[in-house]
């Protein structure tokens, strides 16, 4: 059993030296929270390890990835969440699920860059054998930051700056139209049949923080990602409540019963038609998502008669 390890290490060493010599002129060092990686200056074929954030962001920057992780629904064709309705995905190759992407499928594409999220750090060592693999800090950093890093990686910083400028304009517009924005409370949640969670999709939480809006006391005391009983919904009452539905499941039907109940109808936001029900997959966790969500909030708060709990 010692033979394989010696051989393979020697092999990798030789190959590494060869590749270094061949590509020495075309790479640079990219550094972020997850370490240093030698990446090509103009990557041609990028594989993304998350459809809902990285793939969408790459498309928005004008850099079509050649392969992406996606979702599978039994025997129907795999779909890339949040991508299909906005971009033409012809030629985008499905490489598996985001938990265990198929290295062989990725290898077949002969990519020159692979990008992944924070929880895919463990896959980095294996995938580095195929192509330089960069892990982006999607958990600890806001979308603006890792999108900037991604744009830097693929040489599309100009397109990113355009997106950022648009987003900054929307925020400043909002603050101009609503000078006392910190007095408005917003709750972002997701209701299911018997419980709800406090989640904001499509970058909504980041937009709300950037716009300087505040949260109700019940929301601040609660934890994210826990299933709460629907009885506690009155703790989450705010000037505006935002829920999201998933078009591929029947979430609207599931929650309809509760939305007809007295508890729900007694909420301030519901009584004043300030309950918003967005499509969960329309905007991904990308700059485009931030921009879209920001426009929605701008429209729903600043550009109509808005009542507040006073």
């Amino acid at each position: 059993m010692k033979i394989p390890s010696i051989l393979s290490t020697a092999l990798v060493g030789i190959l590494g030296l060869i590749s270094l010599n061949l590509h020495a002129a075309e790479t640079r060092t990219f550094e972020n929270e997850f370490g240093k990686v030698d990446v090509p200056i103009q990557p041609q074929c990028v594989v993304s390890l998350h459809d809902f954030s990285l793939t969408i962001q790459l498309f928005e920057l004008g850099m079509r990835p050649c392969g992406s992780v996606g979702r599978k629904k039994l025997w129907s064709a795999p779909y890339f969440r949040g991508v299909q309705h906005r971009f033409n995905t012809e030629g985008l190759v499905y490489v598996g699920s985001h938990k265990s992407p198929d290295e062989e499928a990725i290898s077949l594409l002969a990519p020159d860059l692979i990008v992944g999220l924070y929880y895919q750090d463990k896959l980095k060592s294996k995938l580095s054998h195929i192509a330089p693999t960069v892990i982006l800090p999607t958990k600890d950093q806001p979308i603006k930051e890792w999108a900037r890093q991604l744009a830097d990686l693929v040489g599309k910083t100009r397109e990113f700056n355009d997106q950022k400028a648009e987003y900054d304009w929307i925020i400043s517009e909002f603050k101009r139209l609503v000078p006392d924005h910190q007095k408005i409370t917003v709750t972002t949640l997701e209701m299911y049949e018997d419980n709800f969670q406090l989640i904001g999709r499509g970058g909504l939480d980041e937009v709300i923080a950037d716009m300087g809006l505040s949260r109700p006391a019940g929301y601040l005391n609660a934890k994210k990602g826990i299933n709460y009983s629907l009885e506690r919904i009155s703790d989450m009452d705010a000037d505006i409540i935002i829920d999201t539905y998933e078009p591929l499941l029947d979430t609207r039907a599931e929650t309809k019963k509760f939305r007809n109940s007295v508890q729900w109808k007694n909420l301030f936001a519901v009584k004043n038609n300030q309950f918003l029900y967005f499509n969960r997959s329309r905007y991904g966790d990308s700059m485009g998502g931030l921009i879209g969500s920001a426009y929605l909030l701008l429209s729903h708060i600043a550009e109509r008669e808005f009542k507040r709990q006073e």
Partner: protein
């Protein structure tokens, strides 16, 4: 000795002690129900509960909470507990195995797998037909367990066959949830045995089966009492043992399949309750059934309360609490009885 015989005869004619027990249990169930209704994210006092039930005021938010969410959950807990306990009594009777339980023997997992498969493969089917798939799954799981264990009166072989069958069906369910990632999102909560307010609707589809099974099981009482004395004695008394076992198994399948369709797989109730009931009323099956129904309902209400209170504000699933309570009881039983 004559005196105790006389007392025994007297009791047979008018079972005061047992009747008192039933009344006490009923009272306990009512008290537990009020307690169940009063606890939750917000504590509501008992007078408000009484008013909500009797003089409902739609504008009062407390009344709304009670009527809309908690009452439904209470009813589901009562029915599920009673059904599971009854299934456990019958199962232990026909397999003469004190360790039999629909959860341990894989029946729950089989029903759960079929429900998951039908939800994913046949989404166009109206949800009223889901219980049929649950029954199918329960029946197939029971069949496989019998095939594996050989219908011997061998406690450990039966339990191990159940373990193998549970593992099989859980693995198949896991595979399905892996190749359909939305299914995972939707179903993982249900799979641990969740009781929620929405289950009341599911209960509507299922109550005819439950009611029928409960009524029918009372018809089996005489045969079960005879069978308890031994297979040969029963046959001598005119009981068709094979028919009894098949009918009993069908009833168990209907009861547990219906429960799985409503609330997901909840185990151990069918194991623990018959033993407690037997401590109280020995082995007359009509009393055993009555006590089991009440004790099962009581146990599940209390488990549901615990599930909501133990890790506030998180709500654990009731199936997890019953496992945490039932498994130690199971182990204690094993250590006591198997020397």
């Amino acid at each position: 000795m004559m005196q105790s015989q006389r007392k025994h005869h007297a009791e047979r004619r008018f079972p005061t002690l047992k009747l008192t027990g039933v009344v006490l249990l009923l009272l306990a169930v009512v008290v537990a129900s009020f307690w169940h209704l009063s606890l939750g994210a917000k504590s509501i006092d008992w007078t408000t509960i009484w008013q909500a039930l009797v003089a409902y005021d739609p504008t009062n938010s407390d009344h709304a909470i009670i009527r809309e969410s908690r009452q439904a959950r209470l009813i589901v807990s009562l029915v599920v507990g009673a059904a599971l306990a009854l299934a456990g009594v019958i199962m232990q009777a026909i397999s003469t195995n004190p360790l039999a339980d629909p959860g341990l023997l894989g029946i729950n997992s089989g029903a759960a797998f079929f429900v998951v498969a039908s939800t994913l493969f046949l989404p166009m089917i109206a949800p009223q037909y889901l219980p049929i798939f649950a029954f199918l799954g329960a029946a197939i799981a029971a069949l496989i367990v019998i095939l594996l264990s050989g219908w011997e009166q061998n406690a450990e072989r039966l339990v191990l066959a159940g373990v193998a069958v549970t593992a099989m069906f859980s693995a198949m369910t896991a595979i399905l949830l892996l190749i359909d990632q939305q299914g995972l999102d939707k179903l993982r909560h249900w799979l641990t045995g969740a009781i929620g307010a929405s289950d009341l609707d599911k209960l509507h589809w299922v109550y005819p089966y439950l009611l029928g099974a409960m009524v029918f099981s009372f018809l089996l009482v005489r045969s079960l009492n005879a069978f308890h004395l031994g297979s040969r004695v029963a046959e001598g008394l005119g009981v068709n043992v094979l028919l009894l076992k098949i009918t009993g198994l069908t009833l168990v399948i209907m009861l547990s399949g219906a429960v799985v369709a409503v609330a997901g797989p909840i185990g151990f109730v069918g194991l623990v309750v018959p033993h407690i009931a037997r401590l109280l009323v020995r082995n007359n099956y009509i009393w055993l059934f009555l006590y089991a129904l009440l004790l099962g309902a009581l146990l599940l209400i209390v488990s549901d309360i615990a599930a909501r209170m133990v890790l506030r504000p998180y709500e654990i699933n009731t199936g997890i609490i019953t496992a945490f309570v039932g498994a130690p009881v199971f182990i204690a039983l094993v250590l006591r009885k198997m020397k």
